[in-house]
């Protein structure tokens, strides 16, 4: 392997690393969007909540002699609770009385609330999270692949497949699909719409906890605002992949990770320095725009063009 190729593969992996975190977060967006057509702007902040729980519980868990990643359990519990509370206290009343725009603003307001609430409780400063995994890198000659990157990717894939199977084949999964398509008809089938939506939020928030674990493993630091940009990127990933589609979220997340990494690495060389790696965010969005213009419902999205 030449150095060039090793460099390229490492770039791919660093793209996969952040990409698989985006993918995990995007899965949460997609689940919630799929069922109530709401961009849950607070989803990124659920991850922040999960991260704080990790930060607080890991030392105790390690002290008890358990591996640090066991902290995922309290993280999931807290995130699920927060998710369900947000849904019941804010989204549900607005969904029943308002329109999609009101719901969106409520989600933004919830996001602000969580961010500022966290700041009031924990302060604005960054705090580090103890090391979660102690995985060795896997080396292929000169190429070194970090263990937790591989773990994030594998975990992302497993969750994606699991979710897909859950939604396709279990009763609850089918109920989710039914509710997402037609709430009235779903009721007539005997589906409890509210508990199905709550379940979806629970799953989405649980995924946020998992995402926060993987995120903190890769980027071991928490702050009240950490969810904002992460959430946005992951949401873009979900849209790129086709929002509402589970494999789409995965593909979108990884695609954005790769695009980011590869533009950072090569855009300067390709454009002779005219466009630098500082443009990577712009390029991610530009790609999103191009994809949406060509395929308005994202890579995996089904075209929901109205039949006239």
């Amino acid at each position: 392997m030449t150095d060039q190729i090793i460099m390229f593969i490492s770039q791919l992996f660093s793209g996969l690393k952040i990409g698989s975190v985006y993918a995990l977060v995007a899965l949460g967006y997609t689940m919630v969007y799929g069922i109530i057509r709401l961009i849950n702007f607070a989803h990124g902040d659920f991850i922040m909540v999960g991260a704080y729980v990790l930060m607080l519980t890991i030392p105790a868990i390690v002290a008890m002699g358990m591996p640090a990643w066991v902290a995922i359990v309290p993280a999931i519990l807290v995130c699920v609770a927060v998710g369900i509370i947000v849904e019941k206290a804010a989204y549900k009343p607005v969904r029943e009385k308002g329109n999609s725009m009101t719901a969106l603003i409520t989600a933004i307001a919830m996001s602000l609330l969580l961010e500022n609430g966290a700041q009031a409780v924990f302060g604005a400063d960054f705090q580090t999270v103890p090391t979660i995994f102690h995985l060795p890198s896997i080396a292929f000659g000169k190429l070194k692949l970090p263990g937790d990157t591989l773990l994030t990717i594998v975990l992302g894939l497993i969750i994606m497949i699991g979710l897909q199977l859950f939604v396709k084949f279990t009763k609850q999964g089918k109920a989710m699909r039914a509710v997402s398509e037609d709430k009235e008809a779903a009721v007539l089938m005997g589906i409890n719409v509210n508990s199905t939506i709550a379940l979806t939020f629970a799953i989405g928030s649980g995924l946020a906890a998992v995402a926060s674990l993987m995120y903190c493993a890769a980027y071991p630091q928490v702050s009240p605002m950490m969810g904002a940009m992460l959430g946005l990127k992951a949401f873009v990933a979900a849209v790129l992949g086709g929002i509402g589609s589970i494999p789409g979220a995965m593909i979108g997340g990884i695609a954005i990770g790769l695009v980011e990494s590869l533009t950072k690495a090569y855009i300067g060389t390709i454009t002779g320095g005219v466009i630098t790696s500082a443009f990577s965010d712009a390029i991610v969005f530009a790609i999103l725009i191009v994809v949406l213009l060509v395929k308005p419902s994202g890579i995996m999205g089904k075209n929901e063009g109205e039949k006239v």
Partner: protein, 372 residues
């Protein structure tokens, strides 16, 4: 006429503060992404104010701190600033926190003739010297010092720079370093940038830097980015050379293996190990007592800022007007926890720079670079 509609009314009276308290205003970023810096500054302000009051205040008057948040937003900052300026009891303002809001406040300071000292707004692009001053040194200066240190003390030949374009501070220091490095005969083998100064993933750029054969990476980012992201990621792509940073590294957040932070240096305003400066130890002790945490640079700068204001008001005298206070700040000599300096004509202090080295994760005093 339309004069009343003009925003530049200098009608605000500049009479002396009456009553038996002196109000010092502050505009800092206490919410939003940069809130951590503002919070630290405010803690510094508060410590200084409580110390001053405990010792009898300024000119026998108690000091009141009126602290406002600007969310890191220019409009909010100018509204907050105007609110302070409209209050005749406010004799001086400490803040704003970041360069972006400071730039918005600069013309207002001149207009309302209210002396304003920014503790940490380091950007060169801010027009200081009239009514706006700063406690910190400038980005360009700090970049130059770092380059000098790299060339003279570390004796490296090939350097690489990585900075965030979204942030005037990061890009300002980075560009200054690169320029100075070339002037000093070093070779800038790679110059990389990120979309913003708070990205989390830098591996792509770092791999290129690693491949470029640089012996030293100059990465002007904040402690919250350099500590958990840049340095570990640089090490994990195999970069084993020196890492250098600016004062933003103060309070660096460490993660994982501490040894990966070896060979990291940064320039800053003060050092806890600096035994030559007696004020430092006292400051650290009382800060810890009050806040149950170690102070960082921004707290130290904030602390000094209030003492600068105190010194100026004292010099201006009991019946000082805003102009008087301003005149006292201009050209003042000051000795604080962040060093000993004289305010230069352009409103920035000429200050010694301290270089710290991380050893086993702890900042250890390396050297002091005196201003030329």
């Amino acid at each position: 006429g339309c004069s009343g509609g003009s925003m530049d009314d200098s009608s605000s009276s500049s009479s002396a503060a009456s009553g038996d308290t002196i109000t010092i205003g502050s505009v800092t970023t206490n919410s939003g992404t940069a809130a951590a810096y503002g919070e630290a500054e405010v803690k510094g302000f508060e410590l200084a104010v409580s110390e001053i009051n405990a010792k009898g205040g300024i000119n026998g008057k108690k000091v009141k701190l009126e602290s406002l948040d600007d969310k890191g937003d220019a409009t909010e900052a100018s509204n907050a600033y105007n609110k302070l300026a409209a209050d005749n009891n406010v004799l001086a303002v400490a803040g704003p926190t970041i360069s972006a809001t400071t730039a918005a406040v600069a013309p207002l300071a001149d207009q309302t003739k209210l002396v304003t000292i920014a503790p940490a707004a380091t950007s060169d692009s801010i027009e200081t010297g009239n009514y706006l001053f700063r406690t910190c040194f400038k980005d360009s200066y700090q970049g130059e010092v770092a380059a000098r240190f790299a060339a003279e003390n570390l004796k490296v030949k090939k350097v690489a720079v990585l900075y965030g374009t979204g942030d005037p501070y990061s890009s300002g220091v980075g560009e200054a370093f690169a320029k100075a490095a070339e002037k000093l005969g070093m070779q800038v083998v790679d110059k990389e940038s990120s979309s913003s100064a708070d990205d989390t993933e830098y591996s792509a750029q770092l791999q290129k830097i690693q491949a470029s054969g640089a012996e030293l990476l100059y990465a002007p980012y904040y402690y919250s980015v350099a500590g958990p992201y840049i340095i570990p990621q640089a090490r994990s792509v195999g970069f084993e050379g020196y890492v250098m940073g600016p004062d933003g590294y103060d309070g660096l957040k460490l993660t994982g293996d501490k040894s990966q932070y070896d060979k990291t240096f940064y320039t800053t305003h003060y050092s806890a190990d600096d035994t030559s400066n007696t004020k430092v130890q006292d400051f650290i002790k009382s800060y810890k007592a009050k806040n149950n945490a170690d102070p960082n640079t921004f707290a130290a700068l904030g602390y000094d800022t209030i003492y600068m204001i105190k010194q100026a008001i004292e010099k201006a005298g009991k019946s000082a007007t805003r102009e008087d206070v301003r005149n006292a700040v201009a050209g003042m000599s000051f000795e604080g926890v962040t060093g000993k300096f004289t305010m230069d004509k352009s409103g920035s202090p000429t200050k010694s720079v301290i270089v710290l080295e991380l050893k086993d994760g702890k900042p250890v005093y390396n050297t002091t670079v005196q201003p030329k």
